[in-house]
Structure formats: C-alpha cells, structure tokens
C-alpha cells in the first residue's frame, strides 16, 4: 500500500504543480459548455426533461473533462519512459502491479479534480446541485470514469514506443468514445442503428451516472450505470496491469 501511495503522491504532486496543464485542459470543456450550452439552449428541448439543454450537457462536459484528463494521465507513462524515470521505478524491488495501481489511482485523482473544477465553473452558469448525496454520486461516477480511462491510457502506453501514436488514439478512440456517449444528446431519441453503439460505449453509463447525481434524472437506471462502470473499471485495470507487466524500457 505504501508503494501505491508513493506513486499516487508523485502523480498528484506533478499535476498540482503544472498550472498550465490544469488551465489548458479546462479550455476545451469550458468552450463546449459555453458555446453548445448557451448556443443551443434556446432551440433544443430535451423530451421528458424540465431543464434546458445547458443543464443537460453540464454532466456530459464534466465527464468529457474527466475522460480526457485520465487518458492523458495514463499515456504519460510514455514520457516517463522517454525521460528515463520509468526505469527508476521498474528497477526498485516493488511489483509492477503496485506501480500500475498507483499510476491508475493518481491519474483518476487528477481527473476527478479536473472534473470538480469544471463543476465549480458550472455552478456560475446554471448548474443547480441536487444536494450533497447527488454530488457524491456524481463524484463516485467521475472516479470510476477516471480509473477506467487512466487504466486504458496505461494499457495503450505500455504498447506504444513514443507519443507519435497519441494523435491517432485521440482521433479514432477517445473522440468516438466521447461522441457516442450520451454526453451531448439524450440516448432515447437516437436512431435505431446508433443506439447499440451508444449502449456499447462505457462512457455512456458514466455520463448517465453523473447526470443522475447532478440533476436527479437519467435515461439509464443509476444502479445499472454503476454496475457497468464498476465492471469497466475492474476490467480495464486488469487489462492495463497485464500489459504494463510486459512493458520494456
């Protein structure tokens, strides 16, 4: 446990120290929230929901922020590899599983912090928190998204030599995961052919979970969302740990 904490601590310290990264990765979610939220608020009505579109996409944008931050945290292992720091960790008498878990929890923590910052911003533009329990539910789902996608990032980083493939992963994996989730649109009103894709996307359940926490309504039952997200977090951690075990420096 000490080892997991040590690795976690390093990740969080690095994150808190890189002010430009914190501010930089707030840019796109804020942009989405403001432009899409205010831009479409007056013309989009969500069937069966009281709130406007702005309230609808806030949980989606929070989830997006957590998604991007966590994938990025996981993929950072490539930097550790290139700057040589990974060797220092790998030659220590600790198991790779401990290292991987520490990295995952560290990445998830930074992702949750990032999501929380965004939530605070959202308070000023119309987010009305449904109470402390709802807030905690939302944070719980954010943590699960964080773990799932940090582990995913570590899995990818374990197989990648350098950052050249990063753009590819962003464009063909991460953006589709975000786009297909119910972050920007209600999944009930999708055309039939798109629905299965959306339901196959783990982020959908994360978004629905956060939305349930923040606004009290969701299109997927929160317990179902919880079960799927928890399963994804465990599966991705196992997959990430397996691939990380074989990492070569």
């Amino acid at each position: 446990m000490d080892i997991v904490y040590t690795i976690w601590l390093r990740n969080v310290k690095r994150y808190l120290r890189s002010k430009s990264r914190i501010v930089g990765s707030l840019g796109m979610p804020l942009f989405f929230m403001l432009v899409l939220g205010f831009g479409l608020n007056s013309i989009v009505r969500i069937p069966g929901m009281e709130e406007g579109y702005l309230e609808f996409i806030i949980p989606g944008i929070v989830a997006m922020s957590v998604l991007f931050t966590s994938v990025f945290s996981g993929i950072q292992i490539i930097w550790d590899k290139q700057f040589g720091f990974l060797k220092e960790t790998l030659v220590a008498p600790v198991s790779r599983l401990e290292i991987m878990i520490g990295q995952t929890l560290g990445g998830a923590t930074t992702a949750v912090i990032q999501g929380l910052i965004l939530m605070v911003f959202a308070l000023f533009i119309g987010l009305q928190p449904a109470g402390i329990t709802g807030f905690l539910v939302a944070v719980g789902f954010m943590a699960l998204i964080g773990v799932t996608f940090t582990a995913f990032g570590i899995a990818i980083a374990s197989r990648m030599e350098d950052m050249h493939g990063f753009q590819l992963i962003m464009n063909f994996v991460i953006f589709p995961i975000f786009g297909l989730s119910g972050a920007l649109f209600p999944i009930n009103s999708l055309p039939g052919w798109l629905r299965p894709l959306t339901l196959a996307d783990p982020l959908t359940y994360g978004v629905e979970g956060i939305r349930y926490g923040l606004s009290g309504t969701a299109q997927v039952h929160p317990l179902a969302s919880l079960a799927v997200m928890a399963a994804c977090a465990v599966l991705m951690t196992v997959a990430g740990a397996y691939l990380f075990r074989k990492i070569q420096t």
Binding site: T6, R10, R14, G84, E88, T89, V91, P93, Q248
Partner: protein
C-alpha cells in the same frame, strides 16, 4: 564473498548477439570497470546484472542472489545509476530522493536522516528544494548517485557515470566515487568508454569488444601485457620499417595507415639504434614518438582498433540505433 559472479552471460536480440558468453567475478569492495566502445555490450551486461533484462543464456549472481530467480533480493541489494538520466525533473531533489526511499520502504525518520546526509555528501544540500529541471548536468549526476546510495546497497552500478560532463565535474565525480568505495566499502561496477576514467578509478578492468571480454586485469598488468613502451613512427614507407625492425628486443610491431607502432622494453635505450637503422636503409621518417603504454594502446592491441575507430564503425552505429530504439 564475491559481489558479482557472471558465468557465460549471453544476451541476443534476434540475430544480434549483444553480449556473447561473458564470465567474470568481482570481489567485495572492488571497483571494477567495463571498458569498451559504445555498443560493445556494456550496458546490456549491466542491465542483466541489475535484473532489468533477462539473460538469453548463462547465469549470474549478485551478492549471492541469482539475477533471474531472486530478482527482488538482487534489487534490494544494488543501487544503479543509468546511462540516461532517470530523475523526475518536475520534482525537487528532495522529492526525488524521498520517492526513492519510499519505494525501497525506508521508514520516515531514517529516510529523512539519510536523505539529509547523502545530499550533503554530494554537495546538494542547499539546493534540495529546487526543481531538478533547474539543475546542471553534473548536479543531476550527483543527485542520481546519492539516490542510488539511499537504500545502502552493497553494490553500486554506474553506467557511463561521467558521460557528457565537463572535465572539472568529471574529476569531482571521480573523487566522490573513490571516496564512496573507500569509506563505505561499496563494491562498484562501472562502464565507461573513457580510458582515463577506467585507469584512474578501477582496481580491475575488463576490456569489452563486440559482446566479449578480450582482456581482464589491473590497469598496470594490462599495460605490461602488451610488451613495454610504445614507439610510434610515421613515415612515407611504414611497411619497410616494419620489415627492418627484427631485433630480438622488439616485442611487437603493428602496421597502420602511414605509421608503425613498435613495442619494446626500455625504449629510451634503443631509439638511437632504430633511427640509425632506418636512416641507413634510406627510408624517411616524418615523426617519432615514445611513450608509456596507455589503456588506449591496450585496447588497440587486443582489438586492432582504437576506441574512436570502433565508434565510427557502421555496424556499431546500427547497434547503437537498435539500442536507442529499445529504450
């Protein structure tokens, strides 16, 4: 007890045999050097001994623990400074040390005490709270050495410890390394392609070329083994000179492009004779130098090349390239 014992250690990457059946043992308290050009297999040897890579065949023990079956015991008992920097630049020197101490499960009080001592030892105590990215190359190296010592290893691996450092810093580091060995009795195994470094620091030197050890002894004995002083004669006609010098006191002649290297005992006494003989045969001499043998001569003697030649060699470049890619 032997600190390190390697038997027929071999590592291949596909068709490329990086380390080819190396055997040697290092006594406790020794400073042992692996000297050779880049790509000779030094780093790969260190990687196998430090459990970073598995040998393709052969065995090795470090502090009595097998490097394959007792990985964790080996790791606990060694410290290592890699050829490439392995610090976290976004953390301070103290935090880098602290991270290391926690990884090796050193308790809080003890950890703080040792970090303080070691940072003072390498002269970084007053900069301990600065981010490593503000450090110079020499400071980083010293920090890495301090970090490698934090868990009090019995054996310290230094892979090209002074690569890319200026002469003054290099001298400082040599002093640190010698002092560590002296005061703490730590066994040190270092790789280098600097002759001077091996000469000054190492009790024994293994000359490594193309994955094999071509010679292993003290610097003194290695120099003796190649047959006395070195006389280098450059001339328009070096071949004739080589044919001419057949006296029994000549212990070796090597022909190179435009020059001849003659080895002999007590060169000072024989020089006049050599010059006279060459003169009488009507061969011109451009220059002539006499010196005590260096490790460079030893390397030349055993491999037929200078270290610099070797590094310019195309095949070696490919080796280096492949090594860089694996990183």
């Amino acid at each position: 007890m032997q600190a390190i014992d390697a038997r027929n250690l071999t590592k291949s990457f596909g068709d490329l045999v990086a380390v080819d059946g190396i055997s040697f043992s290092i006594a406790s308290g020794e400073i042992f050097g692996l000297l050779g050009p880049n790509g000779a297999g030094k780093t790969t040897t260190i990687s196998m001994l430090s459990t970073m890579q598995k040998p393709t065949s052969g065995t090795a023990t470090v502090n009595g623990h097998d490097v394959v079956t007792r990985e964790d015991d080996v790791r606990k008992s060694i410290g290592i400074v890699f050829q490439d920097q392995s610090l976290d630049e976004e953390l301070t020197a103290y935090e880098n040390m602290d991270f290391h101490g926690r990884l090796y499960r050193i308790g809080g009080e003890e950890r703080r005490r040792r970090i303080g001592e070691l940072l003072a030892l390498v002269g970084l105590a007053d900069r301990k709270d600065d981010l490593v990215k503000t450090y110079s190359g020499g400071m980083r190296r010293r920090l890495e050495i301090a970090r490698g010592l934090l868990h009090e290893p019995k054996v310290l691996f230094l892979d090209e410890p002074t690569l890319g450092l200026d002469p003054q810093t290099r001298n400082h580091l040599w002093e640190y390394i010698a002092r560590l060995n002296n005061e703490k009795g730590i066994t040190i195994i270092l790789t280098t392609h600097y002759m001077e470094e091996a000469d000054r620091l190492c009790d024994r030197i293994a000359i490594v070329d193309r994955g094999t050890i071509v010679a292993l002894d003290t610097a003194e004995n290695l120099k003796h083994s190649i047959g006395g002083d070195v006389v280098t004669i450059t001339s328009p006609d070096p071949d004739k000179i080589a044919d001419l010098l057949t006296a029994p006191w000549v212990s070796g002649i090597e022909r190179h492009d435009g020059s001849v290297t003659v080895r002999l005992q007590e060169a000072d006494r024989h020089i006049p004779g050599i010059v006279t003989a060459i003169h009488q045969s009507g061969i011109g001499i451009n220059s002539l130098s006499v010196r005590k043998p260096t490790l460079e001569d030893v390397f030349l003697h055993y491999t037929g090349k200078t270290i610099r030649d070797e590094e310019a060699d195309g095949k070696e470049t490919i080796r280096m390239f492949q090594r860089a890619r694996r990183r």
